[in-house]
């Protein structure tokens, strides 16, 4: 069987190299019974278009961000809640507990998860010299089209964000339609945003996750033994990617500084209000039913356990 997968990641990036390595290994170990073909760089359209194409069978799968996949399985966005995690260590411990639950909710939505990747923390970057919450009010902030959590968070902060497709961000920074956007440091470099954005607030906004999923109907047509091979190979790929992402983000931060980006420390007085903002938008999300009650319970329990243990 051929599994055709679309992704926005440009060809030649570390992510695509690892994906291709996984595909090669699968092809070899299944003796050509399972072939994986990629359409990188967004040539198959935005995530809604890709989802439509999966439904009519032109594609069998895609790589999505949490906000994009939330369109079919709302719980996948729990790691992206603003100011939820304080550091990478918390992320690792919570993910060890909750990844299986996320995979179950993706399966319930009719997709087989081949991998969940931790892309690192997103930071707000801007063409303006942003430091405080007040500075932010005058900014034209991008959010990914359809990303309800990001929209909610910025609206709670009193900002009207501008939703655009990822592929339109670079152009819109150029024309001034937007002047601020959040991304991981590696992401900012991969999409060339660093040529436009000159300031960054040193404050982890949210944790970025990516999902590689395959349509269940196509998945079930593959022989049991071959499915096993694909799952194992891609588990290994995503393990390597997580490790790689950490190195990449650290290197990217250096590269951003080299390219002349100013790293602003958040204004000290804002410390409390940022966290309050995170809490407020979390409550609002729960009220709107953005995540299931079951997942909410599991998440709060996991976080409490991690923080209790640390104390």
């Amino acid at each position: 069987a051929t599994i055709r997968i679309a992704t926005l990641a440009p060809d030649g990036t570390a992510w695509m190299r690892e994906m291709r390595a996984g595909a090669d290994a699968v092809k070899q170990k299944t003796e050509g019974r399972v072939e994986i073909k990629y359409f990188p760089g967004g040539v198959m359209g935005d995530s809604l278009t890709v989802l439509r194409k999966v439904k009519v069978g032109q594609l069998q799968g895609g790589a999505f961000t949490a906000g994009e996949l939330a369109e079919v399985a709302r719980d996948v966005q729990i790691y992206s809640l603003p100011f939820l995690f304080r550091n990478q260590d918390e992320v690792d411990q919570v993910r060890a507990k909750l990844d299986p639950a996320l995979q179950a909710s993706i399966r319930a939505a009719g997709f087989e998860p081949l991998g969940i990747s931790g892309g690192g923390f997103a930071y707000l970057m801007s063409t303006r010299d942003l430091k405080s919450r007040d500075d932010l009010k005058a900014a034209k902030v991008w959010i990914p089209q359809g990303d309800k959590i990001a929209e909610l968070a910025f609206r709670t902060a009193g900002i009207t964000p501008i939703p655009l497709a990822l592929s339109d961000v670079y152009t819109s920074l150029q024309t001034g339609l937007i002047d601020s956007a959040a991304n991981t440091t590696a992401g900012a470099i991969a999409f060339q945003w660093h040529t436009k954005l000159k300031y960054m607030i040193d404050l982890p906004l949210s944790y970025v996750t990516g999902f590689l999923v395959v349509d269940s109907k196509s998945w079930d047509k593959i022989a049991e033994a071959d499915r096993q091979v694909v799952s194992e190979e891609f588990a290994a790929v995503f393990k390597r990617l997580d490790a790689q992402n950490r190195l990449d983000n650290a290197a990217a931060l250096d590269a951003l500084k080299q390219a002349g980006m100013t790293i602003n420390q958040p204004a000290a007085a804002d410390g409390k209000s940022w966290e309050a903002l995170g809490h407020e938008s979390y409550q609002e999300l729960i009220r709107q039913g953005g995540i299931t009650a079951d997942m909410q319970r599991q998440l709060e329990a996991a976080l409490a356990a991690v923080r209790g243990a640390a104390r």
Partner: protein, 426 residues
């Protein structure tokens, strides 16, 4: 065998006058069918017309163009340029060149330029004794001049099709707008130099200069004069994105022609709106199916295979560019301008990227060649339009436009081999 048969059937249908959108839709549907895909993929791709911010500019610019053409603006444009340049030897010819370039840039039309401006300019050129052959050739050639000048619709269309390939750097419409300015200026200058030389040799009557006429002409066109400057400066400084410039222009022109000048009565407005959107509809429907066609090419990996095949026989970038020029001229002539963009760009762009050609420079090369192909003998469309408009045999127009063709060919070669000219302002 089946492929040959299908191509033959489609060619016959094309000759029978089948609408282009249906032909492209047929290729996409049959193509996806043989690739084992659901025809709904074509509908999914077509729907992406509602997904592209750059496309908002097309109905807005077209509306503005139609309102301007319907108003007295073309006549006022000719009057102002004549007052400015009429005193020069060859001045009237230069007026014609500039007016034709601006008209095409703002309306996106080439054949209509010959029809609309020809009515004013041909008698004027004849009266000033430029000679029939020169006047016919100049107007035929200038019809398509301005295709690469902001805010021409073909530039937007190239940008939209090229964006499907997600190149780095991305092909933005704004960058294309900036890239076309100097190459278009080169064409205008070369044609003007030739016109001055001809005017001297032929002993053309030179108009007199009058400060009073200039002032009157400027006053007459006071509402239109700021327009090109606002658009050019807005886009060049990055204050306005292409679609924003289009909105500013459409709103401004709507207010000036309908409310202030009242040249278009309110009860005539719906008809003009429908006229403009008829053009927009017939173009966007083709574009929608060409998105599906492009997606089929990407889906089946045709561009890669094409590049591999060509790479075997053409090694250097220089040779490739030369072959590209010939290819674009011939197919541009056969496909009559606009269709060439939606059909040829998806095939040519990935190959050209393989040879290291900048996608923005490629856009200018592409449209500069098309501009030439539109009046390339034997079946360049504008030769026939000019033949109808001026009531002369097509062969007369072929002969008359030959020197202009050679001059513009020189310009196209310079544009092709000197990327800096296109990329200096990007």
């Amino acid at each position: 065998m089946t492929t040959v048969l299908l191509v033959l059937v489609l060619l016959l249908l094309a000759l029978a006058g089948a609408p282009l959108f249906a032909l492209i839709a047929a290729i996409a549907l049959v193509g996806f069918h043989f690739a084992g895909q659901d025809g709904a993929v074509v509908a999914i791709e077509f729907y992406r017309l509602a997904d592209m911010p750059a496309l908002v500019a097309i109905p807005l610019f077209t509306l503005a163009g139609y309102l301007l053409a319907e108003s007295g603006a073309p006549k006022r444009l000719v009057r102002v340029s004549n007052a400015l340049l009429g005193w020069l030897p060859g001045g009237l010819a230069i007026v014609a060149i500039i007016a034709c370039a601006l008209f095409t840039a703002f309306t996106g039309a080439t054949g209509v330029t010959i029809v609309a401006l020809g009515a004013v300019l041909f008698p004027a050129l004849m009266q000033a004794r430029y000679g029939e052959r020169f006047s016919l050739g100049l107007l035929t050639a200038a019809g398509s001049l301005g295709l690469i000048l902001v805010p021409s619709m073909p530039l937007i269309l190239y940008g939209v099709v090229a964006q499907q390939f997600h190149t780095t750097p991305p092909v933005t419409v704004d960058a294309l707008f900036r890239a076309g300015v100097l190459p278009c200026a080169l064409m205008v200058v070369l044609l003007s130099v030739y016109s001055v030389w001809h005017a001297r040799r032929a002993g053309v009557v030179t108009g007199s200069t009058s400060g009073r006429e200039l002032a009157a002409a400027l006053r007459d066109a006071a509402w239109e004069i700021p327009l090109p400057f606002v658009i050019l400066i807005g886009i060049y400084t990055g204050v306005l994105a292409a679609s924003e410039a289009a909105a500013v222009m459409a709103l401004y022109v709507l207010v000036v022609t309908v409310v202030i000048r009242r040249e278009i009565p309110l009860r005539r407005l719906p008809a003009v709106l429908r006229e403009a959107m008829t053009l927009v509809g017939s173009i966007l429907v083709i574009l929608g199916f060409s998105l599906a066609l492009t997606n089929w090419l990407i889906d089946t990996g045709v561009p890669e295979r094409l590049f591999d095949a060509i790479k075997g026989s053409i090694e250097s970038k220089t040779t490739f560019l030369l072959v590209l020029n010939l290819f674009l001229l011939v197919f541009g002539m056969l496909l009559e301008g606009f269709p060439a963009i939606v059909i040829l760009v998806p095939l040519v762009l990935p190959v050209a990227l393989g040879y290291g050609i900048d996608p923005i420079h490629l856009g200018i090369i592409f449209l500069a060649n098309l501009q030439l192909a539109i009046f390339l003998p034997p079946v360049g469309l504008n030769l026939f339009i000019a033949s109808l408009r001026f009531g002369r045999p097509v062969m007369t127009l072929v002969r008359a436009s030959l020197p202009f063709f050679l001059i513009l060919l020189l310009a196209v070669l310079i544009i092709t081999y000197w990327p800096g000219l296109s990329l200096a302002l990007v």
